[in-house]
Symmetry: C2
């Protein structure tokens, strides 16, 4: 079996956002397609002289209007099943780009961003939709598998680094932070212990501002102190990691 060279490389991005209640993902609608294959993840072939992360950032800027500094982007795995794109979908791609590729290997990325008014408006104006994770049935090609993988990565990474804050606005309440953890990890957390834990970490800065117009005791807004976090990380490498083993 010969070495293969007439193949294409693409990137596909699972873009996550959090609206304060549920986790959402950005999907592109292809009007020409029937309901089953209509929705896909934002993605693109790579261009000449472009690395994969560059391609991913390009896709994300097109879809959201956000530039590199406003996005958290991570490479995850590569999807290389020789038949992952074939038949109609392969023809679609070849026609669209005027090429004759026989195989498309894709690299999955996941991205986190702060869902605000402007971002939402931009994406909808581009024909993209924010869909709650729970509501997603089926996606084009193997994009459902890519999304599942991304969710797994997000889950794991939220337990290992403070990426949660990439999904929250600059100022947030501890309740919102907790909701985010509960939504992503699918667990319930005691609010008092969560607060204690978060505050004792020393990474949260009280702003002095409070919620307004809420039907309960207003909560204080906090910001994430990235520098304090970095300082703290250096200090510790504990044996406790054995407790966190997963397969």
């Amino acid at each position: 079996m010969p070495v293969q060279t007439n193949q294409s490389l693409s990137v596909d991005c699972a873009v996550f956002g959090f609206d304060g209640e549920v986790l959402k993902v950005l999907l592109i609608e292809r009007p020409a397609y029937n309901a089953l294959d209509r929705l896909k993840l934002p993605g693109s072939m790579i261009l000449e002289n472009e690395t994969l992360p560059e391609a991913a950032y390009r896709v994300l800027e097109e879809a959201t209007g956000l530039r590199k500094r406003d996005l958290y982007l991570k490479q995850m795995e590569i999807f290389s099943d020789p038949d992952r794109v074939s038949g109609d979908e392969l023809e679609w791609i070849n026609r669209k780009h005027g090429i004759r590729t026989v195989r498309v290997v894709t690299v999955g990325f996941y991205a986190l961003l702060k869902l605000d008014r402007r971002t939402t408006d931009y994406t909808t104006s581009k024909g993209a939709r924010w869909v709650a994770i729970e509501a997603i049935q089926r996606l084009a090609m193997d994009h459902k598998a890519i999304l599942s993988a991304a969710l797994g990565y997000l889950c794991r990474e939220m337990q290992q680094s403070p990426v949660a804050f990439e999904l929250l606005p600059r100022k947030f309440t501890i309740r919102t932070l907790q909701r985010l953890f509960e939504a992503v990890l699918g667990i319930e957390i005691d609010n008092r212990n969560f607060r204690k834990k978060m505050l004792s970490s020393g990474f949260l800065l009280a702003t002095g501002e409070k919620e307004e117009g809420v039907a309960h005791k207003p909560a204080e807004y906090y910001t994430f102190d990235r520098n304090a976090y970095r300082r703290a990380v250096k200090a510790k490498l504990r044996m406790g990691f054995i407790d966190n083993w997963r397969y």
Copy 2:
């Protein structure tokens, strides 16, 4: 800038082994090359109808004689700098395979295996060498960067799942296990606490056998109880993860 299709995909594997003292990695020697570029990671272009993991397993079987079930293989990142292979190296590849590729994107894998007599003999008979991590100066192309990334992954993964046992023979002493952790993580660990921690995890099974011919009190051999591990994992998802955040 047009979409690119005349490119190649390859896999490169950082294969780790542990001899009881130091961490080693498997390197291929290219006799025709001068000292600086002589050593490289085992790797290959992908073939038609082959996924990337399949390609990696093929490379590993060629290099070590070990089959899938005796290897621990994990995909890590993708190296896609447009110029990561160029000039002489690109010509070398084109000549070798009779192709005309303009760009080689590679997927880095890392593999763990149990270093024993047979494996060592096989690899050396194939012109490959096990080199201590500490002793590696420079590798061909960007393979040093790939190796560094692999080491990072190994470090992180050893703190999150019991992959350490993939590097040890079926029966091992707790001291050896500790040495492995110390070698990979670059830290010193108190032997009494390490033992306590490991045994209390319930994943180690005492075999009843003991070391022989050692110049100190002989240690007992243990095996890793994978089933006990799996059972334990399900039980817990603690909030402690916040302590383990890294960037």
